[in-house]
């Protein structure tokens, strides 16, 4: 880590109320692989802030949103580890905080000159947060990026730099060599003399030193915090109902708006007649924006009921005859037309094989359906805009609001609130929630909380794209694959179609078909489709070869030892090959995404004609893990998300619009239908991988492969609810 070469600069340290505030910035110019996960353009600069108070509390300012993945705890863990802080004395705050830009000009000057923090800047969080907002163009939470990027390159280095400064302060004070002082549990100790001082007591003196931009990082084997399970900071308020989510925003003089957007995407408001709801109790305004109307009142229920009675019609922008069927026909036509772009061409796929297999796979559109319906609170007045929102990328929200309103970013303030789930919906890819809220707010002079009903959330999504993938493979006379051809629809994430298996001849091609359906990133992005496709087709090859699906994959993983280890581990966990209860079968799938390799085995049966998943074994190699219990929770979560999609997930279109409305017709796994889940973590030491997404892709193929083993029915089209298992 210490020799990781990139430009860094320090933005300075500062003294506040006897404590120290330290911020370190990086400009990691060459992090190309990480960069592609960010949706915000511009220089990548990462600033980490930490505050040490006189009472010896260390507060880490975390520049990412908490959406349930535990990042508000894992990132402070990484900083505390390097700093040798006593975990019980570590706190976190999300940045940016309120009054974000109160100290705009002063902060900027300070930033540019790299001078010490002026005393007038109080409380320090405002200043620190401002700095983050200015510099941190990579603020987004998503792409499983927060730990891998902010944690590794920001938190750890800052923690180590602060430790060095504290040691220096102690050594100077006691007049002993620095090398004789050690940091331990939020104290600096000089063992020879028995001298000991708390971080808090040394902070003021430490602040006078220049931070070292390349401190020595700890060796993994010396970790005492990283790699241990810690309770999450965000959980105690959550069990008391005290966390403030976007939908809980409460601003003085605020009203509540309920909106209805054109049901056919791309459509606009054709006609609206407010008279049908004139004089209703609690209703204050009815506003129209190009593609939606909103009823504004003092209570959600009143506004929602009035909206239902509002006379409004929308046009269909020429998409009124589009259905799921017409979309899939166009996909199929594109595969038949054969005018694809090449993604991979390797060897010669026209060689002869002893056996040829062909199959088409298909998945539908999916909605994120986070538990918290989409919402955004905005106040637009006198050329300024204030926003309260739970979003993965508050900075992108700021930029988008500015663009929509024709303001400069400086005039927009974003107050980040807790996210009631996101899974990609609240990312910066499609910020319809910002756009509609600020356009509505711009028409009134009070703050307005715009809430999507569940039906609106369902029908105005940023959908996981539907797609089709066509495969052809040839096997030699021993059943080994010698060619792999894949032609698929939609280039969402190019690497997602690459296979980890050593097959000499490959042709992978893509065709683009545009539809009017808005799409977004959905938990695990393109791996959610291609994981299912590739791992199902591999299972087909194994069965065609008359071989065991685990044994079949093993020799093909020679170039990918992590995959092989994961496969062997999960086979071990599930006791693959054992005799099962009658009516049960196992299926296996293996998938790397976001740097983490995950293998899963599902045990299934058929109950009353429907698939039932009893167990999932999951082995995961994220390289290393910061908070093991939190990582396991993410694996469980991702598996259940993937199973829900495999069993039930389907958004369909008819007459250009989404048919599903609410949970009754967009079904979810419940407690009663959740399998037992067993997770093993493999700490291979590879570069840190993601946690939030990689367990989703293998869930579907593990289940469908198990169903094939049980019934002989090969499932090539999801979801499973549309199939009969007699």
């Amino acid at each position: 880590m210490a020799k990781f070469s990139r430009r860094k600069f320090l933005v300075g340290t500062g003294l506040v109320g006897g404590g120290i505030v330290l911020g370190i910035s990086f400009m990691p110019g060459r992090l190309a692989t990480i960069r592609k996960h960010y949706t915000v353009k511009g220089a990548e600069v990462l600033t980490t802030w930490v505050r040490i108070a006189e009472d010896n509390l260390v507060t880490v300012l975390v520049p990412h949103s908490e959406m349930g993945q535990g990042v508000h705890t894992t990132l402070p863990m990484m900083l505390a580890e390097e700093m040798e802080a006593d975990w019980d004395l570590v706190r976190m705050e999300q940045a940016p905080a309120h009054q974000l830009f109160a100290n705009d000009a002063v902060s900027k000057g300070f930033l540019l000159q790299g001078e010490r923090l002026p005393a007038i800047l109080n409380p320090p969080a405002d200043w620190a947060s401002y700095k983050l907002a200015q510099l941190l163009d990579v603020q987004t939470t998503g792409g499983s990026s927060s730990i891998r990027f902010t944690g590794e390159f920001g938190m750890r280095t800052t923690g180590a730099a602060v430790k060095e400064m504290l040691i220096r302060a102690a050594a100077d004070k006691w007049d002993v060599p620095r090398s004789e002082c050690v940091a331990r549990l939020s104290h600096i100790v000089h063992e020879k003399s028995g001298a000991k001082a708390s971080f808090g007591a040394l902070a003021e003196a430490a602040a006078a030193y220049e931070p070292n931009p390349t401190p020595t990082l700890k060796d993994k084997s010396d970790f005492t915090i990283i790699g241990t399970s810690k309770q999450r900071f965000d959980i105690p308020p959550k069990v008391r109902g005290a966390s403030v989510y976007g939908i809980d925003a409460d601003v003085p003089n605020m009203r509540i708006a309920v909106l209805k957007a054109a049901p056919v995407f791309g459509g606009t408001v054709a006609k609206m007649d407010k008279s049908s709801i004139a004089g209703r109790r609690g209703i204050e305004d009815v506003v129209q924006i190009p593609d939606a109307v909103a009823v504004i009142g003092d209570n959600y229920w009143r506004a929602h009921a009035a909206l239902a009675d509002l006379s409004v019609s929308f046009d269909a922008a020429g998409h009124g005859d589009v259905s799921s069927q017409t979309i899939f026909s166009r996909f199929r036509a594109a595969l038949d037309a054969d005018d694809a772009k090449t993604n991979i061409a390797q060897g010669d796929v026209s060689i002869d094989g002893a056996q040829t297999l062909e199959a088409d796979y298909q998945v539908p559109y999916l909605n994120h359906a986070a538990m918290e319906p989409m919402n955004c609170t905005a106040h637009v007045k006198d050329g300024k805009c204030e926003i309260w929102v739970g979003a993965q990328d508050p900075l992108a929200c700021r930029g988008h609001a500015a663009k929509v309103l024709g303001l400069s970013a400086e005039d927009v303030t974003v107050h980040p609130l807790m996210l009631g789930g996101s899974f990609g919906r609240r990312s910066g890819v499609l910020m319809d929630y910002i756009e509609r809220a600020v356009l509505i707010a711009a028409q009134v002079d009070y703050p307005v909380k715009v809430i999507w009903s569940r039906e609106e959330d369902m029908q105005q999504g940023a959908y996981r794209p539907a797609s089709i993938s066509r495969f052809k493979a040839k096997l030699d006379d021993k059943g080994a694959p010698i060619s792999w051809e894949n032609h698929y629809i939609r280039d969402e994430e190019r690497a997602a179609v690459h296979i980890p298996y050593a097959i000499e001849n490959q042709s992978i091609r893509v065709s683009e078909v545009d539809t009017h359906v808005p799409y977004g990133v959905w938990r695990s992005v393109a791996s959610s489709q291609h994981g299912f496709y590739i791992e199902s087709f591999m299972d087909e090859l194994a069965h065609a070869a008359g071989q065991d699906p685990v044994a079949y994959r093993r020799p093909l993983l020679g170039d990918n030892p992590r995959h092989l280890t994961v496969l062997d581990r999960v086979a071990d966990m599930a006791k693959w090959g054992r005799k099962l209860k009658k009516g049960r079968a196992l299926g296996v799938a293996l998938r790397e995404s976001f740097g983490t390799v995950v293998g899963q085995i599902a045990e299934v049966s058929i109950e009353d004609g429907s698939p039932r998943v009893h167990q999932i074994w999951c082995a995961a190699d994220p390289g290393d893990v910061v908070n093991p219990d939190g990582f396991i929770a993410q694996m469980e979560s991702g598996i259940i998300y993937g199973l829900t999609a495999a069993l039930y997930g389907e958004i369909t279109l008819e007459n250009g619009q989404v048919q599903q409305e609410n949970f009754p017709d967009y079904e979810m796994l419940h407690l009663a239908t959740t399998p037992d889940i067993h997770v093993d973590i493999i700490r291979s030491g590879a570069k840190l991988g993601g946690a939030g997404e990689p367990s989703t892709p293998p869930a579907a193929p593990a289940v469908t492969n198990a169903l094939f083993a049980l019934t002989g029915q090969r499932i090539r089209v999801l979801p499973l609810k549309n199939h009969d298992f007699a």
Partner: protein, 157 residues
């Protein structure tokens, strides 16, 4: 219409339409936002509160049905130490992820255990039909079992 009811031990008089769902009286009239809106059609359980000790889905429960009752929301659930046993178990087992469903989940589980302190898996499956999009179900089940085990032990001891 004036509706009188007690919420978390405090008496309230609300001048609202009788068919306003209890959820929106709590959230928008009284600013008790710990109770969450998830679906509005009694399908998800995010809005679960107790009316005279019974769990109800407040999004689909008209306020006049709650007249002259005692309502408990997540904000009023804790005992003198702050959290009730379920809330403490939720911290110990690190149940919540995004946490949005958990107010309702905790209300539903508290009601289940008040009624049946040692539920079987089938009892749990039948009673806890709340949706958690983050998939915290395995931990919910484990925490309930542990609470039931503690109850059994206390009874014996």
């Amino acid at each position: 219409m004036t509706i009188k009811l007690t919420i978390n031990g405090v008496r309230h008089q609300l001048d609202v339409e009788p068919d306003m769902p209890l959820l929106w009286a709590l959230r928008d009239e009284l600013k008790l936002t710990g109770t969450k809106f998830g679906c509005g059609v009694a399908a998800c359980g995010a809005c679960t509160v107790h009316v005279d000790g019974q769990p109800v889905r407040s999004c689909s429960y008209p306020i006049d049905a709650a007249a002259n009752t005692s309502v408990t929301t997540i904000e009023g659930l804790g005992d003198a130490d702050g959290n009730n046993a379920v809330q403490r178990a939720w911290i110990e087992h690190q149940v919540p992820q995004c946490g949005y469903c958990q107010s309702g989940m905790i209300m539903a589980v508290t009601a289940l255990l008040d009624d049946n302190p040692t539920p079987s898996d089938d009892d749990i499956d039948a009673a806890i039909t709340n949706i958690c999009r983050c998939g915290t179900y395995p931990r919910v089940r484990k925490a309930i079992h542990e609470l039931a085990a503690a109850h059994k032990k206390n009874r014996k001891g």
